[in-house]
């Protein structure tokens, strides 16, 4: 197949990108003086900085490539991941959960579990999160090397080592602060580097109307074909979308995954922390302009005789992830190719940096200080944070090479989230809003919930049970099974936690002040006008969400 040929201008743009992020890491080191600076970027960020970083930590290249390809495969249903599958959870985090997180001055999400429940629940979640983060980081690294080899012909080892070393350099030097700075650069790079593909694609096809006219009818709707799973490309009903994606997976990810929540912890005050996910919800709703529209353009081009556009084939299977790189290759001249490749690289590297900065914090506070050295000094914690960054990057590299030997583990990315985040959301929800939930209930509920998710995954993989029993529908795509598995894991954790809490010892109420609704003073409004409050922006965001869903019904 044809590969990108990088000209000297393209290399120059790549060099500028690397020089900037390495230079930023070095520049920020002088401002990283305490553990608060290193792990929480000094808690000085404005809502806008934290908000864009919050979104960027999630906007990895793997997601951009995967979702553009998924749109080609499933149609506009992919927009659910960005709208109903994200925005309600982001607003809920900002409005209701952030006051408990931020006001308790914790360093990590497992830190909340320690305050609300006990040490064992914190350590269980800390270890599960650490393993998940390194797996995701390694798979991300592997995916990047795969893309660079396929489209640029670059060597595996060079791609993996150069990007891992770059991330290790700037995160080790200045921690979360450099991760956030590079995430914001990445945000702009992705928009300027990839939005042009959408524009040129629409111009070639003849307008958005022509795009929608030339795709199968069910590919251009969001809900109208969701009554019957066999009538839409994703083979899922509205119940699966709402319960699995919209509720459990989405709330589980956006409200409990420390990778994104850590960005809100870096905000300068409670109002900025609450605004962080609410601000992020606006650009989140705009991301389908790149991924969904581009995927649909690719679908139209592939169906147009003589367009010369066709996705790659790997061993007779269509490689859907090739959609975006092939369109870049189709439209971008030299110079812009360098910009597009930098945008993809930035997406991969920022995703890895986000995982590593979350890993080093959880490892340092929720494993090292909780189990190994309870009286660690400020300097010692920073030292451990730096060491765990390097070790985390090295383990990611090992995972990447492991993934190279078993390429199918890429398919397990969604599954990994449902193992850890889905049950954790039940624990958090009960912990924050129900006073009588006990530490024993939380620990065993979480353990049983995680076990349920992993067991269901294995049961489907090794064909011990029919996937239709999980999805409650005869048509069951892999995506539908993921959504429904997350729902069952959440439900099992939720019910188990409640039942065990009924029979076990409760924490004294005075220890729960500031951690549970009903025992916490309402958020102070102190005369802030309504139009400056998080509630106002959340209402605006919800209105936009409703309009988009109704328009594309």
């Amino acid at each position: 197949m044809a590969t990108f040929t990088l000209s000297i201008v393209d290399w120059l743009i790549l060099a500028i990108y690397f020089a900037f992020i390495l230079g930023l890491g070095y520049y920020l080191k002088r401002f990283t003086k305490s553990q608060e600076d290193y792990f929480l970027a000094g808690r000085k960020n404005s809502a806008w900085v934290a908000g864009i970083a919050f979104l960027s930590a999630n906007l990895g290249a793997l997601e951009l490539l995967g979702m553009t390809g998924n749109t080609y495969k499933y149609g506009m249903y992919v927009a659910h991941f960005y709208w109903v599958g994200a925005v309600p959870a982001m607003l809920f985090l900002g409005l209701y959960m952030m006051p408990f997180y931020y006001s308790s001055r914790i360093h990590s999400v497992p830190g909340y579990l320690k305050l609300r429940f006990d040490e064992r629940t914190r350590v269980l979640n800390g270890i599960a999160f650490g393993v998940m983060t390194l797996l995701v980081s390694g798979i991300n690294l592997y995916a990047m090397a795969l893309v660079l080899r396929t489209f640029l012909g670059w060597d595996w080892n060079v791609s993996i080592i150069v990007s891992a070393a770059t991330v290790a350099f700037y995160v080790t030097l200045s921690g979360l602060m450099s991760a956030i700075f590079t995430e914001i650069i990445q945000f702009f790079l992705i928009w300027f580097g990839l939005f042009l593909v959408t524009i040129l694609g629409i111009v070639e096809v003849g307008g958005v109307d022509q795009v929608l006219k030339n795709i199968p009818a069910s590919f251009g709707t969001l809900w109208s074909t969701s009554g019957d799973a066999s009538q839409n490309g994703m083979e899922i009903t509205w119940a699966g979308i709402v319960l699995g994606l919209g509720f459990v997976l989405s709330f589980g990810y956006w409200t409990t995954d420390f990778l994104v929540v850590q960005r809100a912890f870096s905000a300068k005050n409670l109002r900025a922390a609450r605004m962080t996910p609410i601000i992020a919800s606006f650009p989140k709703m705009a991301v389908p302009v790149i991924v969904v529209l581009t995927g649909l353009v690719a679908l139209v081009l592939a169906k147009t005789p003589g367009s010369g556009f066709a996705l790659l084939q790997d061993g007779g299977k269509i490689n859907y992830d090739s959609t975006l790189p092939l369109l870049i290759m189709r439209y971008y001249p030299h110079g812009l190719v360098g910009l597009g490749v930098s945008a993809l690289l930035a997406g991969f590297m920022a995703g890895q940096a986000g995982n590593i900065s979350a890993f080093n914090t959880v490892w340092t506070y929720d494993v090292y200080r909780a189990i190994i050295n309870k009286n660690a000094s400020d300097a010692n914690l920073m030292w451990v944070g730096r060491i765990s960054t390097v070790v985390g990057v090295c383990l990611s590299v090992v995972t990447a090479y492991w993934a190279m030997g078993f390429p199918s583990i890429m398919d397990y990315m969604q599954a990994i989230f449902s193992w850890v985040n889905a049950p954790l959301f039940a624990t958090m929800l009960l912990g924050m809003f129900v006073v009588w939930i006990t530490p024993a209930g939380a620990f065993w509920g979480l353990l049983v919930g995680m076990g349920t998710s992993i067991t269901m995954f294995l049961a489907v993989k090794f064909q011990w049970i029919d996937p239709a029993r999980i999805t409650l529908s005869s048509a069951a795509s892999d995506m539908a099974v993921n959504f429904w598995r997350a729902w069952w894991a959440w439900l099992v954790c939720f019910v188990t936690t409640i039942i065990i809490s009924l029979f076990t010892k409760k924490k004294p109420r005075e220890e729960l002040i500031g951690l549970v609704k009903g025992l916490t003073p309402e958020t102070a409004r102190d005369g802030i006008p309504f139009m400056k409050r998080p509630e106002f922006y959340a209402i605006l965001s919800a209105i936009v969400l409703v309009i988009l869903n109704v328009y594309f019904w």
Partner: protein, 67 residues
């Protein structure tokens, strides 16, 4: 320290300048192998948009410092 928006401005300015220059070069010396829609000269106007955005961020934030 300088705010992140200052660095965003600097980065977009430098990158936009390179893309614009490359687009103008292609306009004057059209490449033999053309991409689809090469006649739109995307490098010129897109590079210009990046450059202007970068300059805006840079000018607004060049004298600002944050804690």
């Amino acid at each position: 320290m300088k705010p992140i928006w200052y660095f965003v401005g600097l980065f977009l300015t430098v990158t936009g300048l390179v893309v614009l220059a490359s687009g103008i070069y292609d306009l004057i010396n059209p490449p033999v192998e053309k991409t689809v829609l090469a006649n739109l000269h995307a490098g010129v106007w897109w590079g210009g948009i990046i450059l202007l955005s970068g300059l805006l961020f840079y000018v607004v934030n060049r004298k600002k410092t944050v804690e």
